[in-house]
Assembly symmetry: C2
Homo-oligomer: 128 residues x 2
Amino acid sequence: MNVEISFTQEPIAIPPIDLPSLEIGACVEFHGIVRETEEGTALASLQYEAYERMAESELRRAISELAVAFPCEAVLFIHRLGWVAVGEPSMYLRVLSSHRKEAFMFALTLLDRLKMDVPIWKVAYRES
Amino acid sequence: MNVEISFTQEPIAIPPIDLPSLEIGACVEFHGIVRETEEGTALASLQYEAYERMAESELRRAISELAVAFPCEAVLFIHRLGWVAVGEPSMYLRVLSSHRKEAFMFALTLLDRLKMDVPIWKVAYRES
């Protein structure tokens, strides 16, 4: 399985979809976008921080474990760090698999693991 | 909810993501791609056919029903018809929602409904 993980201080640039084999039947993409309100109050922007090395290592572990239940051929994960304005994406995930259910379940479960286990966090600054 | 459905004989052209509000936190995209093998034998290409008017009507019904369980703000669905070569996308779905679980569950369930209830079908031509 081809796994690419990166962190960037710049706006996320999404590379074109490149199929590693002719057995890919499903490509699932997810963009996490900064919303205007968080827990009921308005945000101006969010700041994301991470322990990058540990975050990458935890992500690779989660990806290996999930691939047993939901076989996939390629995973691309990009997370923005630093300030991200409302309406802009803070993260991007792409999963390529033979079948759609595996691709969807892989992506959904990986995002749950991301929230629980991976040292990436956000600091919210409210409008004042 | 903004719903756009289209069928095309041309390669699918994906429009840029346009957020209808600053409450969108999740964008899920799915590309269904023609695989080289189907039920164990090699394909050269697939031909897709549809009763377009009925397919659109069934899709709109499924979308309205699913939006009750999984609230979403925008759905874009594009299906290619006619010949589609191996490795090319035959369909594209985009779902925008405030939250990722709703967006994923909406997309996954809509694709199940698509297979069951919507008059779009494929004719496989084997390599000989």
